[in-house]
Amino acid sequence: MAIFADHHTRLLVQGITGREGSFHTRQCRDYGSNVVAGVTPGKGGQDLDGIPIFNTVATARTATGANASMILVPPSFAADAIMEAIDAGIELIICITEGVPVLDMLRIKHYLALKPSRLIGPNCPGIISPGACKIGIMPGAIHTPGGPMGVVSRSGTLTYEVVHQLSLVGLGQSSCIGIGGDPIIGITFIDCLQAFEADPETRGVVLVGEIGGNAEEEAALWIKAHMSKPVIGFIAGLTAPPGRRMGHAGAIVSHGMGTAAAKLIALREAEVEVCEHLGELGEVCARVMAQTAM
């Protein structure tokens, strides 16, 4: 078991013929993901290593039964690509692209609420259910199949660091999701926590947050009210100066809102095991999971 992506995922890649697109398509396929189609307008009828290419998502979906789409297009085309996937009825949309304007996402966020599609990202590494399906740009090899940990994070390499530590202490992962570093994103911490809570393979969750917004605070409230499985939390940006965007468009402390300190307090109040030292995260998880197992 895993959440959102698994052996049943039939993956389509929007922007498959771009440099990034073709590279990561091959990486995903080599990991074992079932890549059934690609879309590049004007290249319909061609193929990439035998993966058929279509002009539109709608025709690709009709022809191949794709149910997930990975978007690797330049930021100026990302909003259009996401909406095209939504309208074509793609169930799981993963937008890797960084630099999508906020107002584009503002509209998409509400449009998504009208439709059954689930969006991960943008500005995210994607999702991996180790051993089953990788949709994104994360290095597959650092992951360990078989659970028990779910990982959800706003970051990329920081997530790899966390996953690596988990694998080192012998904790495999059910699914790892980078929800993205932008101010407005598709699925949230809460959506993932909810799915992990319901997933039998997942026995504990690592939540990796960072400064900006209050998604972590909202997640904490949800955890307090609904979560039976242990959650280990980490927040990046304790030392970030206010008013500056720390790489991620969403990582900014403004008007005193969105500080790491406030997030840590919220998580602690929800009885999340907070780890402040990144180097110790793997050990903390091992300890918490050992206690839970008892």
Partner: protein, 387 residues
């Protein structure tokens, strides 16, 4: 990207949002013809990207030509220190010269993005001229918030909620409606992330006038607003940050002594936190990109070495799809080609890490190579008293 007041007002004027008559100058001698044109009194305002200019002495009301001349001469070139500039202040290179306005009332108006609800929020207050945070703390009931869903846009009831909330007369309500029917499209058209008019002034003739204007544009949107991208003034940025941007690095200058080179924004933030936890202070945030190449690492190296305050460098790289051996070669090459003399701690993890560490160890460079973050913190602790 923040716009200067004079830039924002020029855009306002284009779309018919009322602003005082005025012009921007960068030399005192340009003032005299303006006095003829605009009359007296005038307001002279320093154009720097920082709030609190008035308190810092960057805004002056002048009633005579000689007062105007004196004020312009004094402000142009001054290092303006405000609550937001830091102690070193910001050099004033331009001043805005505007007609003095006969003010009967000061309102506050801003448009922001509400991240949680993914909506535009319009904030109004009768207490114009004060920082909105102050009003929020003192009399929160005097702040009117109106949420606008971006899919349906600004509607009549939003305007009524605002106008009745601000207790405006019917005439002023119409004025405000007309203003917002220009301001909301402005916000959307120009991909603003923040827009503040404080004060929004009611003149003695009952007109609304945007006497100040703070506008921030979403940098990610600049590809569709080349005319705005062109407004960026190099002087507004820290020179190192400007240089970093030019070479495609995501760099923020901080006050410490430990330079950092990290791949990925989240890991870079967490690395700053580690340095602090070791008792040292980071000199910067530097994300060379999640898929960091050897070339980007070398660029980062050179940038940090040009910062005189940097006493040591901490490289924290998680090798993902780009493997550690390639990254290690980049580090070695960067260290060699820059003739590095500062202490360097390298923590490298991820794909092909053994080969990477071997390359570092055999490079002949005096690098401190650590494998875990805990080891890194220990080494950083040893460095913390470096000056």
């Amino acid at each position: 990207m923040h716009l200067h007041e004079y830039q924002a007002k020029a855009l306002f004027r284009e779309v018919g949002i009322p602003v005082p008559d005025g012009q921007v100058i960068d030399e005192p001698r340009q003032l005299l013809p303006l006095i003829d044109e605009l009359g007296l009194p005038l307001v002279i305002k320093a154009q720097v990207l920082a709030g609190g200019r008035g308190k810092g002495g960057g805004v002056r009301l002048v009633r005579t030509a000689s007062e105007a001349q004196a004020a312009a001469t004094e402000i142009l070139g001054m290092e303006l220190v405000t609550a937001q500039t830091g102690d070193q202040g910001k050099t004033v290179r331009k001043v805005m010269v505007e007609q003095g306005i006969d003010i009967t009332r000061e309102l506050y108006l801003s448009l922001l993005i509400d991240r949680d609800r993914a909506e535009i929020v319009i904030i109004g207050s009768q207490d114009g001229g004060m920082a909105i945070e102050e009003v929020a703390a003192r009399s929160p009931e005097r702040i009117i918030r109106v949420q606008v869903n971006p899919l349906i846009g600004l509607q009549g009831y939003h305007l009524r909620q605002l106008a009745f909330g601000l207790e405006l007369s019917p005439q002023l309500s119409r004025e405000l409606a007309s203003l917002l029917q220009k301001l909301y499209p402005f916000f959307m058209t120009y991909d603003c992330s923040q827009l503040e008019i404080n004060p929004l002034v009611v003149t003695s003739t009952g007109q609304l006038l945007a006497v100040d204007a703070k506008v921030e544009i979403d940098s990610n949107s600049l590809y569709r607003h080349p005319e705005l991208a062109a407004l960026a003034e190099p002087d507004d940025q820290d020179p190192l940050e400007a240089e970093a941007r030019a070479i495609g690095l995501n760099y923020i200058r901080l006050d410490g002594t430990i330079g950092t080179i990290v791949n990925g924004a989240g890991l870079a933030m967490a690395t700053m936190d580690l340095i602090k936890q070791a008792g040292a202070e980071p000199a910067n945030f530097l994300d060379v990109g999640g898929g960091a190449s050897a070339e980007m690492i070398e660029k980062g190296f050179r940038l940090l070495l040009s910062d005189q305050r940097v006493r040591a460098i901490f490289i924290n790289i998680f090798g993902g799809i780009l493997r550690c051996d390639a990254l290690a070669r980049g580090v070695v090459q960067a260290a060699r080609s820059t003739g590095l003399t500062l202490p360097v701690i390298v923590r490298m993890e991820g794909t092909n890490v053994d080969e990477g560490r071997r390359i570092l160890a055999e490079s002949g460079l005096t690098l401190t190579i650590v494998s875990t973050l805990t080891d890194a913190v220990r080494e950083l602790t040893n460095l913390k008293d470096l000056q």
